[in-house]
C-alpha cells in the first residue's frame, strides 16, 4: 500500500464526527482529570478505558490518547495554581509557575503552559509519524530471541519509574512478574497458581489489576486520611501571556520539545525527567538565568515543552515494537488488546489504516488541546471545587462498573479490590506501583519469547545471542544496567 493509500485509509477512519468527538471528549476528560490533584493523567486513562470497549477501535484509542495528552497539560493547572502537580510530569512547572501565580499572574503562566504544551505536542506527533514506521519495518525481522532481548532491555525502564529506591522498584517488578505467571502454562497448558478455580485459568485480568493498583489506593488513602487534601486555589489574575513572550521563549520550547521526543522514544524515561532536563537547559541558555525559580515565564514554557514533547514520542516504541514507553501507554496497550489489536511491527502491515488514522487524529489533537485547554484554564475552579469526599465514592463506583464491563465477571471486581489493598500497602511501604504494572505486561511476553527461543534451539542458550540485533539489545541492556548502577552509587555518595 502506498503512502497516499495509507493516508486515505486512515482519513476514512477518522474523517467523521464520531472520531473527532471521541478525541475532543478524551482531551476534556484528560484536562479535567489531570487538573484535579489525586486523579492524575494515569488514573484518568485507567478510568476512561472501560468506556471505550463498546466504541469502534479507532475512536476508543483516540479517546484514550486524548485523555493522555489532555492529562499531561491538565497537570500543569494545579501545579501552577496550588503548587500540587496533577501529574508527576508537571513537577518542574511548579518551579516558576507557582511563583507567577503567587504574584497574581496565574493566567499568564497557564497561558504559556498551554502554548508551549501544544507546540511541543505537535513536534512530538510529527516525530512519531516520521520514526514509528521506520522502526516497525526494522522490527519485522525480529524472531523470538530478538524480542526476548528487546523486552529484557525494556525491563530496564523499571529503573526509570522506581522513584527513590531501585531495590523497591525491582521488588515491585518481581511481584508483577510473579502475578503474571498465574493461569495456564503457555506451552504445556498445566495449572500455575490457579487453585483449580476457572476464574484464574486465564490469568488475572489486566484492567482489574491496573485499576486496582492505580485508582483504588487513592480511595483507600482518602479513607485513611479524609482531610489530607485540603488546599487553597489561587486567583487567575487579569494578565495574560502575549505573543511576544511566546516568541521570546520559542527557542526553549523547541529545544524542550526535542528533549521530550528523544527521552520519550526511549522506554521508561518518562515525562518528568524530560521536563526537568528541558528546564535546566533553558535556564543554562537564558539571558534571564537569575530569574529562573522566581517566576520566569520561559521556565514554565521549557518545562511544559519537555513533558508534552514526550506524549507523542512514547507511542513510538508502543506502535513500532509493542513495548509501552511509560505507565500510561502501558494502560493504552490494554485498549488495543481489548479491541483485538496487537501493537507492534505487524500492526503496520495488518492494520495500517488504524495506524494512519491515529497519526491524523494525533495531529488534530494538538489543535483541539489548544481550544479545550484555553477553556479549561478559565473553567477549572468549579471543577476543582467538587468535594473530594464525594469524588472518591464516585471513583469507586466507576471502577466497579468499569472492571465488571471487561469480562462481565464479578470475580474481576474482587481482583480489583484485592489489588487496591496491594497498591495501598505498596504506597505505605514506598514501593512504586509502576514497575509492577510494566512487569505484569512484559512478563508473559518475556517468558513466551524465552521459551520459544529455547524450543527453537533445543534448549541451547546460544540462540539468545544469534545475531547483530540481539547483540545490539544485549549491549543496550548492559549499558543501561551500568548506567543505573553508576547513578545509584552517585546518588548514594551525594546523600552520604
Amino acid at each position: 500500500m502506498s503512502l497516499y493509500d495509507s493516508l486515505m485509509a486512515g482519513l476514512s477512519l477518522v474523517g467523521n464526527w464520531e472520531a473527532l468527538l471521541s478525541l475532543a471528549i478524551g482531551i476534556v476528560i484528560g484536562v479535567v482529570g489531570g487538573a484535579i490533584p489525586g486523579i492524575s493523567a494515569t488514573m484518568a486513562v485507567a478510568l476512561a478505558l472501560p468506556f471505550t470497549f463498546p466504541m469502534e477501535p479507532i475512536n476508543g484509542i483516540l479517546l484514550l490518547l486524548g485523555v493522555y495528552k489532555g492529562g499531561i497539560f491538565g497537570g500543569s493547572i494545579p501545579a501552577i495554581l496550588i503548587k500540587t502537580p496533577g501529574t508527576p510530569a508537571s513537577s518542574a512547572t511548579i518551579l516558576d509557575g507557582h511563583p507567577l501565580a503567587a504574584r497574581g499572574e496565574a493566567g499568564r503562566a497557564l497561558g504559556m503552559a498551554l502554548w508551549a504544551s501544544c507546540t511541543a505536542d505537535f513536534v512530538s506527533n510529527l516525530a512519531l509519524i516520521f520514526f514509528a514506521g521506520f522502526l516497525a519495518s526494522f522490527a519485522l525481522s525480529f524472531g523470538p530471541p530478538e524480542f526476548f532481548a528487546l523486552i529484557l532491555f525494556s525491563l530496564t525502564i523499571i529503573a526509570g519509574v522506581s522513584g527513590e529506591s531501585l531495590l523497591r522498584g525491582a521488588l515491585s517488578a518481581l511481584l508483577g512478574l510473579l502475578l503474571a505467571t498465574i493461569g495456564l502454562d503457555l506451552v504445556y497448558g498445566t495449572n500455575r497458581f490457579t487453585f483449580g478455580d476457572p476464574n484464574l485459568m486465564g490469568g488475572l485480568n489486566f484492567i482489574a489489576v491496573l485499576i486496582g493498583l492505580f485508582a483504588i489506593p487513592e480511595v483507600i488513602n482518602m479513607v485513611w486520611h479524609p482531610t489530607g487534601h485540603v488546599g487553597k486555589v489561587q486567583k487567575l489574575g487579569s494578565k495574560w501571556v502575549t505573543f511576544a513572550e511566546y516568541r521570546r521563549s520559542f527557542r526553549s520550547i523547541i529545544r524542550g520539545s526535542f528533549i521530550g521526543v528523544f527521552l520519550g522514544s526511549i522506554p521508561g524515561i518518562g515525562a518528568a525527567p524530560a521536563a526537568f532536563l528541558s528546564y535546566s537547559e533553558a535556564r543554562r541558555k537564558s539571558p534571564n538565568k537569575a530569574n529562573f525559580g522566581k517566576g520566569e515565564i520561559e521556565g514554565v514554557a521549557a518545562s511544559e515543552a519537555g513533558n508534552n514533547g514526550v506524549a507523542g514520542a512514547t507511542l513510538i516504541p508502543l506502535l513500532a515494537l509493542g513495548v509501552p514507553g511509560d505507565v500510561i501507554t502501558a494502560i493504552i496497550i490494554g485498549a488495543f488488546m481489548v479491541h483485538g489489536l496487537q501493537p507492534g511491527p505487524m500492526m503496520f502491515v495488518l492494520n495500517v489504516d488504524i495506524i494512519y488514522g491515529l497519526f491524523i487524529g494525533l495531529i488534530l489533537s494538538s489543535g483541539i488541546l489548544f481550544v479545550v485547554g484555553g477553556l479549561a484554564i478559565r473553567g477549572f475552579r468549579p471543577v476543582a471545587d467538587i468535594p473530594k469526599r464525594i469524588l472518591m465514592p464516585m471513583v469507586l463506583v466507576l471502577c466497579i462498573y468499569g472492571v465488571f464491563a471487561v469480562n462481565n465477571n464479578i470475580f474481576d471486581v474482587g481482583v480489583m479490590f484485592v489489588m487496591g489493598w496491594v497498591g495501598f500497602a505498596m504506597g505505605r511501604l514506598h514501593v512504586p506501583p509502576a514497575p509492577f504494572l510494566i512487569a505484569f505486561i512484559l512478563g508473559p511476553l518475556l517468558e513466551d519469547n524465552f521459551r520459544q527461543s529455547m524450543l527453537m534451539s533445543g534448549g541451547s542458550p546460544d540462540i539468545l545471542l544469534r545475531g547483530p540485533i540481539t547483540w545490539f539489545f544485549w549491549g543496550l541492556t548492559v549499558i543501561a544496567v551500568v548506567a543505573i548502577a553508576r547513578g545509584t552509587m552517585r546518588a548514594r555518595r551525594a546523600g552520604a
Binding site: L171, T181, T190, F193, V223, G228, R389, P393, F404, A405
Partner: protein
C-alpha cells in the same frame, strides 16, 4: 521499614521456593529440558525475590534511620478503624452484588463510603449516590450492551 520489607521479601521467596511452587504449579513429568518446564520461570522469580530481599535488608541495615516516612495523620487509631470498615464494605459489596444487583449495591456503597469519610455535603452525596450508578447503568446496559447484574429483588428496565 526497608529492613522489614527485605525480611518480608526473603520470607516470601522461601515460601515460594519451598512450598508454593512445588504444590501450586504443576508440570508434566516428560519435560526434556528444565528451561522449558512450567516450573522454571516461577523458580527464577522466587530466587530473584530472595536476592532483592537480601539487598533490601542489607540496605535497610546499613541506612537505619535515614528512610522516608509516611505523612502523620491526626488520629491513626480512627484511621485504622476506617480502613477496617472500608475492607468490610468492599467484602460486602463483592458478596452482596449478585443478590442485590450492581446498581443498588453501588448506591449503598457510595453512601456508606461518603459517610465513612465524613462528607460535609451529605445531601449532595445521597443525590450522587442515586444518580451516578443509574447513569452508569444506563450507559453500560443500554449503550455498551453489558449485562449489568440485576440481582434478585428489584430489576431495572
Amino acid at each position: 521499614m526497608q529492613l522489614r520489607l527485605g525480611l518480608g521479601a526473603i520470607l516470601a521467596a522461601v515460601f515460594l521456593v519451598t512450598y508454593a511452587i512445588p504444590n501450586w504449579v504443576s508440570s508434566p513429568s516428560n519435560v526434556r529440558n528444565i528451561v522449558l518446564s512450567p516450573l522454571f520461570w516461577p523458580y527464577i522469580l522466587g530466587g530473584l525475590t530472595g536476592v532483592v530481599g537480601l539487598g533490601l535488608a542489607f540496605a535497610g541495615w546499613r541506612e537505619a534511620g535515614g528512610e522516608a516516612v509516611n505523612e502523620a495523620i491526626p488520629d491513626p487509631q480512627a484511621g485504622a478503624v476506617r480502613l477496617v470498615a472500608f475492607a468490610v464494605l468492599m467484602a460486602l459489596t463483592f458478596w452482596v452484588m449478585p443478590v442485590l444487583g450492581m446498581v443498588w449495591t453501588s448506591m449503598l456503597a457510595f453512601v456508606a463510603l461518603a459517610f465513612l469519610v465524613k462528607t460535609r455535603h451529605p445531601a449532595a452525596a445521597v443525590i450522587c449516590a442515586v444518580v451516578v450508578p443509574l447513569i452508569l447503568y444506563a450507559f453500560f446496559a443500554h449503550v455498551a450492551s453489558v449485562a449489568i447484574p440485576q440481582g434478585d429483588l428489584v430489576r431495572l428496565p
